[in-house]
Amino acid sequence: MTDAAKQQDGDGGRLVIGIDLGTTNSLAAIRAGKDPHILRDKDADPLTPSMVCFHPDGRTLVGEAARQQRLVHPDRTVFSVKRLIGRSASESEKDMRELPYPIVAGDRDLPRIRVGEHEHSPEAISAMVLRELKATAEKALGQPVHEAVVTVPAWFDDAQRQATKDAAQLAGLECLRILNEPTAAALAYGLGGKNDGTVLVYDLGGGTFDVSILRIQDGVFRVLATAGDTHLGGDDFDQLLVQRILQTLPTRAGAEDPFVLQAVRSAAEGLKKRLSDEREATLELDLGERGDVALKVTRAEFEGAIAPLVQRTLDCVKSAVKDAELTLADIDDVVLVGGSTRIPMVRARLEALTGKAPHTDVDPDLAVALGAAIQADVLAGNDRSLLLLDVIPLSLGIETLGGTVQKLILRNSTIPTSVSEEFSTGVDDQTAVDLTIYQGERELAQDCRRLGHFKLRGIPPLPAGLPRIKVTFLVDADGVLRVTAREQRTGVEASIQIVPTFGLTRDEVRRMMLDSIENAQQDYVAREAIEARSKAEAMVRGTNKALQMAELPPDQTFAVHKAVKALQKLLDQGADTAALKAASDDLTKVTATIADDVISSAVTKALKEEQQP
């Protein structure tokens, strides 16, 4: 490609946001200029709880509003769906037992969240959280947002990545890139070349654990190895305390009661947080007619309980260092990400292992979103100085005779990566070949995750063994597999039908998109409201500025003042789009009729400045 063509493709000036879609909390950020910043409502908490409440009155509440309902409607408040996304119901059996809202096995053994009459896929719930973040971002930016970089745990497999992309699509966001969370954090940490070297990112979040080792050098962020566990995080620490609290309850019935379960969960979370600052913490919980809980837990007891889990994370650290062909002495810096790294024991054990005091300049709650915003900026074509080279976390393979898996692409290969294999037919005139793809490190297919089934069709009918079908397996920069096939003798492209084992089929995504046309209408209305509001605000500011600058006859000054005040009043009242538009038009008319065009040109100028930040 020529340089000129590349620049055209670069297509700068696009608005792409970065989203950290967390197990517990989510947030969005943008990079405008050098440093990224978090997008939030004025003075609001930057973290949006990843929660959705289907209120009995018919409203769907998302984020903080949903969180406030979790004790009132524990069976209708959904959270931690990141533990379910891209997995089967049988795999989620433990989560289904521990989460207070009902989860059932649906079609193809996929987990479905049942609320009243309705069932929701984990993708649909995540889409609601993403939609909320999109709305928050649009409000903060004053303009519509259509594209995003969404982060996932580095250890997420193909199915979990694809499911997250589907969620973004359902939320009306084009997901330009699925970015690994520890890599995103490294971007935030290493921006500006201030921290070149070899860095270990330890990311212990609400539900997942990742460790990645990167080399940062002249704006290139190269992942050398990654390891982790998609079911290890703060939730699991809470769960240990939950068990402890449930044991003190007079009856075993509590464990089945969503109200008790949710109240105990919240209490456990609070207890855990207090134990990070205090040596011991007491809990007094009034469960009404279901009994009372009074409990004292020391930090030592808590640490004893979580020690095996913390050890698991340290084992991952060791294996990642080994996979990177390094020793712990080669690590220049250790970066902590995720709320669970606030636990003193986690820090102490990691420091004891690595011999380095963890780096704490980057806020562990915000680093991932800030990094996603940086990568979003790169993809928008605004920054050619940065380059991310990430890896695939788990090997990809194909089932061969006897139920073993032949590895095609090895874990920790830099992506994009590709490999081609040639297949043939076993019987005369065979026109289709089946391939089953697995992901994982084990030898036997039954021990790996079956990602899906590829059916190659349209093979020309030939004697057995004669067709030569070249199949190319390509892992793209999202870490998602793409398969293409071509018969070598005839050059016929074999068509590929993909049946994913987990997550949604393309048809299901399409149908859900159609279902959400109604929502799309709401989206449009919301966008229009945002636009009308920000335009009106700009007009008020612009006119006020112009009034100060221009010398006007008193009667005209009065007319303009009146129109501005009317518009300001509507803004203060939070008036609807139509009213705002009408009042804005009135103001335009007043300023336009003024003989001295100083004022209208000043307004126009001010408006222009407002719209070009």
């Binding site: 074509g381 380059l387 390509l474």
Partner: protein
């Protein structure tokens, strides 16, 4: 299932075919090619083009993996110079195989003291293998060079097994 060989790694990097590469230069070359060809910097709405960009970027990553490892680099060089040479020279000297078998046994029963000693011995053997390989390649004797690669594989495997021992 038959593996389809990847494109010549030297050609992908646009460098001369040689065993001895300056590692720093090679890395700089890799980073430059990545900057030029990575899909992050070459976004396009056209899907076909997008696949081409991905494919090119994948080739660069895969070639880097080959070139940075001296033995994989040697394999790539030999295949590029004489297609099928590695397959044609799989039959090794029975004397060598007997030695290799003995070595594998030593590794299997090595205790902690013996482990270090064996590691040093194997590393020295691999260095010698590479020296011999270099001579064969310089002399244009690719069949002999291919045999060296296969022999070295036994030493690499033994070293790997040794490392895996706790």
């Amino acid at each position: 299932m038959i593996h389809v060989p990847s494109p010549d790694a030297f050609a992908v990097f646009g460098i001369r075919r040689t065993l001895d590469l300056d590692e720093r230069e090679l890395e700089q070359r890799y980073l430059k090619l990545s900057r030029d060809c990575h899909p992050d910097h070459n976004r396009s709405r056209d899907t076909d083009d997008c696949v081409a960009v991905l494919q090119r970027s994948a080739e660069i990553n895969d070639a880097w993996k080959v070139l940075r490892d001296p033995w994989r680099r040697a394999r790539a060089l030999l295949e590029a110079e004489s297609e099928g040479v590695l397959d044609r020279n799989k039959k090794l000297d029975p004397m060598f195989l007997a030695d290799a078998l003995e070595l594998a046994e030593e590794v299997a029963f090595a205790d902690a003291d013996k482990k270090q000693q064996l590691t040093d011995k194997l590393k020295a053997a691999l260095a010698k293998d590479y020296e011999a390989l270099r001579r064969d390649v310089a002399a244009g004797d690719y069949d002999a060079a291919a045999k060296r690669v296969h022999e070295a594989h036994y030493h690499q495997k033994a070293l790997q097994d040794l490392g895996a021992k706790a």
